[in-house]
Amino acid sequence: MQQLLNTLLTGLTLGMVYAAFALALVLIWRSTRIINFAQAPMAMITTYVALTVIDADYSYWVGFTAALLSGLVLGAAIERLVIRPVEGKPHINAVILTLGLFIVIHAVAALLFGSRYRSFPAPFGVRGFQVGEVNVALTGFGIFTIGSVVVVMLLLVALFRGTDLGLMMRAAAFNQEVARLLGVRVGRMFTLGWALAALVGSLSGLLIAGGSLVHPSYMDSAVVFGFVAAVLGGLDSPVGAVVGGLVLGVSLSFVSGYVGSELVALAALGILMVVLLLRPGGLFSHATPRRV
């Protein structure tokens, strides 16, 4: 019982972390139709920014803010300097560019910050609660994680569904040329999309790092599960990303605890395949489009 509860709870928190990462992917997908493989190393860099700030004896929250802001700037800079030139070319070019970025940022971080483990603080407690006899594997930081991801999701939904800006971002993503003809500043929309995505990405980085260890590859496992979560959800839907993250986090937690941790990735594949076979466009996809 206790184990069941705790496996569930840790899975939930983990799922939220995947969800955060998936949200960042969804944002870039929605705004530029690109899968950003460099999401993880970008987040990693901003976590190091936070660490540097915190090491300089500023509070956690100063570091936190610095990381988010540097994410914003980094995202915008990468879009303008690296992605912009391949705009209008086949999408695979941009995807491969992000893979290149992945490699480059990794190497640069290892050179800049060294490739040793470093401890990263958490702003809230990392000890679980005790309710009577029952240990509840939910920490202050875990609650913060869940809360912040839900808030980000709601903000994104509001942005895309409810605002003119969101509408213009979507238009730019779906059909650049037409958007441009209609007067949408496509370039700005892309930059904004990347900046926001990188901001959400660095949030996911901070959530993964909190109270744990960081090194240049610490985000790598999030790449796979975050991407799988986003695809599960349907790539276009922020709610889908969060649901995908939760489904994945909880089920993988159970597989790991009750079946075997070596099968975690296989289970992820299994879940993904089952979902995609039933709904080829993910859980929250729209109805199949008219083809002819």
Binding site: D164, L167, M168, R170, A171, F174, N175, E177, V178, A179, R180, L181, L182, G183, V184, R185, V186, G187, H286, P289, R290
Partner: protein, 233 residues
């Protein structure tokens, strides 16, 4: 008044426009005619900045637009209804329409109603994703969307494509109305030269990227030799 001077545009080695010059006077309809591949679409795309000319200039009321980015055109009052593929199929009908206003920096809900009154089919489908629309319905959506921007200059690339004759007549009547009532400037590209000339004030004829004739619409329609040579009727 929209003017182009000595416009030359190439796609790689293919020259699609050669030193084309003409003016589309304000408050009038100028029809751009010519066979397939004559360069009509290229002309409109060059005017709205989607392709950059090799040389030449585009002027709107004496303001040089040659280097103006496409995305600023809408705000300057220039609307371009592209040839086909103009609907953003992933957005809903209403979102497509809203964008028409937003991009130009002037979205008014009243305009929405105006378009819906004009094309009642669209009103029924306002929340539907545009990909469910039929070909003609999409074309209506694109035209309606251009109207949302309340433009001063409207570039129309084959607006009748895929539309039922009744709707074509309706749209042409509407255009005529806007031109006379609000002083709209229209540059109309049409394959169907006869119907285009029936509402146009002026006509220019392109052939292999060169401007070969520029005349009053009535003159063009009457000149049998010209019609046979370039317009095929």
């Amino acid at each position: 008044m929209l003017e182009v001077h000595d416009l030359t545009t190439s796609y790689g080695a293919v020259r699609a426009l050669s030193e084309v010059s003409f003016a589309a006077p304000s408050g009038q309809v100028t029809a751009v005619l010519g066979a397939n591949g004559a360069g009509k679409t290229t002309l409109l795309r060059t005017i709205s900045g989607l392709v950059r000319p090799r040389s030449g200039r585009v002027l709107l009321d004496d303001r040089d637009l040659t280097r103006t980015p496409t995305e600023q055109m809408a705000a300057l009052g220039l609307s371009h209804v592209p040839e086909g593929r103009g609907v953003i199929t992933e957005l809903t009908v209403e979102e497509n329409l809203r964008l028409g206003g937003l991009g130009a920096g002037r979205f008014r809900p009243a305009d929405l109603d105006r378009v819906f009154a004009l094309f009642p089919v669209l009103a029924d489908r306002r929340r539907a994703t545009a990909h469910v629309l039929s070909g003609g319905e999409r074309q209506m959506l694109v035209i309606g969307r251009a109207l949302m921007a309340d433009p001063r200059v409207l570039l129309l690339d084959e607006p009748s494509l895929g539309l039922a004759p009744r709707v074509v007549a309706q749209i042409f009547a509407l255009l005529r109305g806007l031109v006379t009532a609000e002083g709209l400037t229209v540059v109309l590209v049409e394959q169907n030269a006869r119907s285009a000339l029936s509402i146009a004030d002026h006509g220019v004829v392109l052939n292999l990227g060169r401007l070969v004739v520029r005349a009053k619409a009535s003159v063009l329609a009457a000149d049998e030799q010209l019609r046979h040579a370039y317009l095929g009727f």
